[in-house]
Amino acid sequence: MSISLEVPKKFGMLINQAHQVSLEVFRPISRKYDQAEHAYPKELDTLAALIDGMNDGGEGGTGARGVRRDSSEQKPGNRNGTNMSSVLSIMEACWGDVALVLSMPRQGLGDAAIASVANDEQLARFGKLWASMAITEPGFGSDSAAVSTTAVRDGDYYVLNGEKIFVTAGGRSNAVVVWATLDKSKGRAAIKSFVVEKGTPGMEVERLEHKLGIRASDTATIRFTDCRVPAANLLGSPEIEVEQGFAGVMQTFDNTRPLVAGMAVGCARAALDEIEDLLAEAGVVVDYDRPAYAQSAAAAAYLQMEADWEAAYLLTLQATWMADNRKPNSLQASMAKAKAGRVGVEITTRCVELAGSLGYSENSLLEKWARDSKILDIFEGTQQIQQLIVARRLLNKTSAELK
């Protein structure tokens, strides 16, 4: 018990592995798959197998699955566990390429959702799947309570009907975690998540989007038409517990928001490292001791970006540290996502400006990072949704009071 905000040495190997992957696998193919928008990055298959191997060995989760909260007895003392190591490896991998990370087999946000809320039996069945997350519908985005996809119980099955959009890796994954309502009149409490495996009759991938960034990642529209899903695929409790409300499915976000914050932190770091080198070539040296205003405008801009980056980085680590130490972290997860999401965009776009035509052209990856980063301030809860969550918590307001 002593204040210290350093990454433990035991994660060094993990971080280095992720860095090597970024450097030797992601960066060399980054531009290629940005341009070939819907081509499958086949290089990732080999890599995914490697990561599966890493996941199965020892402490320190590497990817989306590391966010599962250990149910065993909490040992006394401080813990730096898999929530933290997962985010650290995601950061490092997104320093390589966010879009490719989002396309990593078996590393989907659906996997994080399964890891967060599945029971042990479900985890055994779904733990090796590559699962996407399907929440958004054509009629709503941020207002998750407005889910209109329905799930009707029929014997040992639920019958799903509805349309989901913006499903990351929805075309390539082999399962989708779908949010659907058991009874629209019962509001939030009736919203449940279901694991639907690809090939289930009635599930159709209809379209892939063309996007501003993360183009290597496929974003799909999926339609469910009388799609029969085994009742045992419902994650969490099947009961509609009005007092518990949304808590069941929303719990996922406490774990996935720090992951997305980590993506923004990693992507922004890539841009910062690149611009630092470019500025050094241009003769600009950044001095942490001298006041920003006593240095060049470019150095001052760099210092501000680096400071904002540090805040985002530490907020993200704080959220994972709390998860690892079984402290409720909804507030901190939203703070991290809000700060990292916005500074991710500010930093990557500012770096393009500083690099001039060099940064704006496709000759460098700076312009790509500036496009990729924008999604990180949108998915898993937009900037505005995070601010709303933080505000409601601080001001002690319900969603009916503070809309």
């Binding site: 002593s2 210290s4 350093e6 401080n78 400071a307 530490l314 809000a338 505000a391």
Partner: protein, 442 residues
């Protein structure tokens, strides 16, 4: 005004200036304001003064020591942990209570008076022992590990009460900390005993100089070598409690590189000139004018090493960052009930996103800055490099500290602008974070 306003006085302006001069005196009489005006002038001149440095005691080595005593460094922890030690929890609890009960209620009056009440300064020493915490026990202090994070937590807790008073309280501790960290055996035994008793002298670490774009690594105050020591010349600005201070640590360029010097306030050539500022008024800021001030060779602190000086600047910035976090937190704690209770258009103003999101952003930026500050301090005490982290904590608190101060006033609207509420003072105090160097040391 399509750019810099370069217009000078014309005929009409000259007429107006004349009119203003003529109107002033009779106007005051006509409105019966003469008495108030006189009192205001009197009050201002009480704060506005120029005097030689205070000299109440003679510092001399009571006990000869061969080696300086230093606190033990904390071991490298190599982990992420935001849990304070039990000792830190106790210290923070006591400090927070002191800040809430003593500092917050006294903040406004101390701001008006440009002075901290003597009772509060005394109690900070007898009840909190702010100077004793960092002093090794062989020198009569409380001993223990060197802890910059404790310094951060204490500064933060005090500034939650009032930043100006916090600075007044912490100013002597900066000097004792500097002696503990960088003083040699003789400097420690000469000066430190005074900081462990109940009668701790006012003292200050003076770095700032009055000029735009001030860079603490490019000083205009100079130290010239003489056969017997050094001669110091220059001006130090915004030095807390300078008029009553008995000991200064002064930053001056020696052979072109910045260094720290111990200067007793009674030394010939030291003049104090009051310099009340936008905020931090309870800290009685003043200029210290150095005109051919002769000090002995033993006045040089830390052997004039560049690393010592850089560490001093960094540790002070961490201290200011911590003060910003404390006052920033005060703003957040103050605006939350206010926006919940204040109604407009038939509902609490906190039901509007434009208001609520300002509160969110205060909290988000504050939390980010606080973690950055703690990381810098924790690295410092573990003996890790911390230049980058201290620089970033400085940048964040300079930027967002002011933003938070401004949001605090904005959220209260017109009520935030008047002295009935403390947010206008916090606005003024938080502007200091980007400006101040030295003064506090964690």
């Amino acid at each position: 005004m399509s750019g810099r306003n370069t217009r000078g006085r014309d005929a009409m302006g000259a007429g107006l200036a004349m009119l203003t001069k003529l109107a002033q005196a009779p106007l005051i009489d006509r409105l019966g304001l003469r008495k108030q005006t006189e009192r205001a002038v009197y009050e201002t001149s009480k704060a506005g003064f120029r005097a030689v440095g205070a000299a109440n005691r003679t510092f001399s080595a009571v006990q000869k020591r061969n080696a300086p005593a230093r606190p033990t460094g904390a071991p490298e922890r190599g982990q992420f942990d935001l849990t304070p030690t039990d000792e830190q929890k106790m210290i923070v609890e006591a400090t927070a209570e002191f800040a809430a009960e003593q500092l917050r209620p006294a903040g406004s009056a101390a701001d008006d008076a440009c002075a901290a009440p003597e009772t509060i300064l005394k109690r900070s020493i007898t009840e909190l022992g702010v100077t004793q915490v960092g002093i090794p026990d062989e020198l009569g202090g409380m001993g223990g590990e060197r802890s910059a994070t404790t310094g951060v937590l204490v500064a933060e807790a005090l500034a939650h009460g009032d930043m100006g008073l916090a600075v007044a309280i912490l100013a002597p501790a900066a000097v004792s900390n500097a002696l503990v960290l960088w003083g040699d055996a003789s400097q420690q035994s000469t000066y430190l005993p005074a900081f462990v008793g109940d009668d701790v002298p006012a003292a200050a670490l003076a770095i700032n100089e009055p000029r735009p774009l001030f860079d603490p690594f490019a000083l205009q105050t100079t130290a010239r070598r003489t056969p017997g020591g050094f001669v110091l010349d220059g001006v130090k600005s915004l030095v807390p409690r300078a008029a009553s201070a008995e000991l200064f640590v002064i930053a001056a360029a020696l052979d072109g590189a910045p260094a720290l010097f111990l200067v007793e306030s009674g030394t010939s050539g030291v003049t104090i000139e009051s310099e009340p500022a936008m905020g931090l008024r309870a800290a009685s800021t003043a200029r210290v004018l150095l005109d051919g001030v002769t000090v002995p060779a033993s006045a040089l602190l830390g052997g004039g090493s560049a690393d010592t000086y850089a560490d001093c600047i960094r540790l002070a910035r961490i201290g200011w960052a911590a003060l910003a976090c404390g006052t920033g937190r005060a703003v957040l704690d103050y605006v939350i009930p206010y926006v919940n209770e204040r109604h407009a258009f038939g509902e609490p103003i906190s039901h509007r996103q434009a208001v609520a999101f300002m509160v969110s952003n205060i909290a988000i930026e504050l939390e980010g800055a606080r973690l950055t500050t703690l990381r810098a301090a924790a690295r410092a005490e573990q003996g890790l490099s911390f230049a980058r982290e201290a620089g970033l904590a400085r940048r964040l608190t300079a930027e967002y500290g002011m933003q938070i101060g401004s949001a605090g006033v904005q959220l209260l609207g017109g009520h935030g602008y008047v002295k009935e509420h403390p947010v206008e003072r916090w606005y003024r105090d938080l502007r200091a974070i980007a400006v101040m160097e030295g003064v506090v040391l964690v």
